[in-house]
């Protein structure tokens, strides 16, 4: 006895295939939707801002006069901030990742640390701002300076680096470290000579991604307190500063005061996106170039 009637199957087949094709188009549409928004966003921003970008704008000092205003101060502020964030996050992030992946026994401590990190990854950035305000600005009495902002940002992006580094380390095949152990290498020798070099591309990618997150963050810095007008360029870790996204924020909300500020904001966005684009390209290049071959 046959339950499956081949003719019926045949008939239904056509409907099923049509539905499949229709669904595929809908899915494609959804995928493209995000990209269209991206295109519009970039087009809009470029249309508003591109004509405002010139060497004066890029190298000039901040000004209340839109025709004189430049964003060098914000660029330098961003660079200074990264000078804090990059080393601090790398040290803390990679260190934590190594500990978790190579040393911590899979037990209570390990799962506690791991849970803690994934929870930190989900804490809103503004709460980190409050932490920074309370601990670095007030308690340690640093004031709203680069160091305070940088440390706040470091803690904010720490989970990104930890998780990325963990994944990179975990992706180093066991047989490599086994080979090293098999030669009589100690654990730290193996980590230093084999695991870290092999995981480096992944770690770097994570580091770059975390930096680009830090470059774009606004809320925590606003909470820490960044002046709306700051003309001198920052010159040390203990200087007050402003950064690109904060400048965008102020110019956006002040566009009611001076209409051209909207253009300045757009122009600054173009610069910021360009920086992020470069960083992300670097990440992708690293990822592709060092694509694992083992």
């Amino acid at each position: 006895m046959k339950y499956i009637n081949l003719e019926q199957v045949q008939q239904r087949m056509n409907t099923r295939l049509v539905i499949n094709t229709a669904a595929k188009s809908v899915f494609l549409l959804a995928t493209v939707f995000g990209l269209i928004v991206l295109a519009i966003l970039i087009y809009r921003v470029a249309a508003d801002g591109l004509s405002w970008i010139n060497s004066g704008f890029l190298t000039g000092r901040l000004s209340t006069d839109p025709n004189k205003a430049g964003i060098m101060g914000a660029i330098l502020g961003t660079v200074w901030l990264m000078l804090v964030v990059a080393p601090v996050t790398m040290l803390l992030g990679v260190g934590t990742a190594i500990y978790l992946e190579a040393y911590a026994k899979k037990g209570r401590l390990h799962s506690f640390l791991q849970t803690n990190i994934s929870n930190l990854a989900g804490v809103p950035s503004i709460v980190f701002g409050i932490l920074g305000l309370t601990v670095f600005v007030r308690l340690m009495d640093l004031g709203g300076v680069i160091l305070a902002g940088g440390l706040t940002m470091s803690l904010l992006v720490l989970p990104i680096v930890v998780v990325a580094s963990q994944e990179a380390i975990r992706a180093v095949p066991n047989h490599l470290s086994e080979a090293s152990f098999g030669m009589g290498a100690t654990k730290w020798q193996t980590i230093k000579n084999i695991i870290l070099p092999a995981a480096l591309p992944g770690i770097l990618t994570g580091a770059i991604l975390s930096l680009s997150r830090a470059i774009g963050e606004t809320a925590p810095l606003i909470v820490i307190g960044i002046p709306a007008l700051l003309i001198p360029f920052p010159g040390s870790l203990m200087d007050r500063f402003t950064v690109l996204p904060v400048q965008i924020y102020y110019w956006t909300i002040d566009s009611a005061l001076v209409a051209e500020y909207a253009n300045l904001a757009a122009a600054t966005i173009v610069v910021l996106l360009l920086v992020l684009f470069l960083l992300n390209s670097a990440a992708i290049i690293i990822r592709n170039k060092f694509q694992r071959r083992y």
Binding site: L62, R240, L257, A259
Partner: protein, 322 residues
């Protein structure tokens, strides 16, 4: 010179009482200081926070000072709002100046005393409380002060335009303004509404840009804020001419001046100086002097009416005495 200056200004001081300072000693000091400072390269920072309304004026001054006077001094201007600004001002090692679009309150002065420093009030310019409506609104371009108050007051009995005048459209009015964070709100609440509650459903916003947008896109909106925000957005807003009893007066730099026709809705804006800071840090004092000397020049372009010279002279004298 120091002794004379330092005694008086602290508490509840009325700007008028400054006449008491001796002009003679002050003059000498000023010249000396001025002579000394023209060559002296100052450095360090001056920290200013406070009113968003006063911000454009103070920012313009600060920029001028840093670019053309003392390039090594960093004057950073924030704009948290008058009250929030006082929060940062009234602490130990707080800000050097606090801009305010209302007068300092007694409690705030008391706090300064508790912390242990002296506060000096400077009026810096005059601002006209401006009521703005949508450009499409062709009926409410002229209103009496009473009508305006009745729109914003809780029991004003006005919710529709037609409540003001039967010839107006039968549509709901959307009143709005800056929120309680702002001195502008407090001035309006205390001096115009005389502390009567605001109407239910008034839309209070933190950012002036939001208000400008709201009004520019809503023909039933009416908002109040500083004259400067109107001047900069004349394309998208129109100001209500206010009839204080002698015919409608359009707010303008002339009418909002101290003796102008719009004076009833005019208010002074201030900056408050931490005098102890000025004594400690030469750049703060120098900057204060610079502000007083140049503020009138910057007032007009940023949407404020200038102060009488005499008043400024008093401040200059006071500073010279420090």
């Amino acid at each position: 010179a120091c002794g004379g200056g330092s005694e008086e200004p602290a508490q509840g001081e009325d700007p008028g009482s400054e006449e008491a300072t001796e002009p003679a000693t002050g003059d000498e000091g000023t010249e000396e200081d001025a002579a000394g400072e023209e060559t002296a390269e100052l450095e360090g920072s001056v920290v200013i926070d406070g009113s968003g309304t006063v911000y454009p004026l103070m920012a313009a001054l600060a920029e001028e000072y840093m670019t053309n006077e003392q390039p090594n001094v960093s004057v950073e201007v924030s704009r948290a709002g008058t009250s929030a600004g006082f929060g940062r001002f009234l602490v130990e090692n707080g800000t050097d100046f606090n801009d305010a679009s209302r007068e300092i309150k007694d409690e705030e002065l008391a706090e300064a005393e508790a912390v242990g420093f002296e506060v000096k009030e400077f009026k810096v310019a005059l601002d006209g409380l401006t009521f703005v409506i949508n450009p499409e609104n062709d009926w409410a371009t002229e209103l009496t002060d009473e009508q305006l108050i009745s729109i914003f007051k809780a029991d004003g009995g006005v919710t529709k335009w037609s409540d003001l005048d039967p010839s107006f459209p039968d549509e709901d009015i959307n009143p709005m303004g800056p929120n309680e964070n702002h001195g502008t709100y407090e001035f309006f609440y205390e001096n115009v509404l005389e502390e009567a509650d605001l109407v239910e459903g008034v839309n209070l916003q933190q950012e002036y840009s939001t208000l400008v947008n709201l009004v520019s896109e809503d023909r039933n909106a009416i908002a109040f804020f500083g004259f400067g925000y109107y001047v900069n957005n004349q394309d998208s807003l129109q100001a209500v001419s206010v009839d204080f009893g002698e015919g409608p007066v359009e707010p303008s730099l002339d009418t909002i001046a101290e003796d102008g026709d719009y004076a009833q809705f005019t208010r002074p804006v201030f900056t408050y100086l931490n005098v102890d800071m000025a004594r400690e840090k030469p750049q703060v004092l120098d900057y204060a002097k610079f502000v007083i000397e140049n503020v009138n020049e910057f007032a007009g372009p940023t949407g404020f009416a200038p102060l009488p010279e005499a008043e400024l002279q008093e401040y200059a004298d006071f500073l010279a005495g420090l």
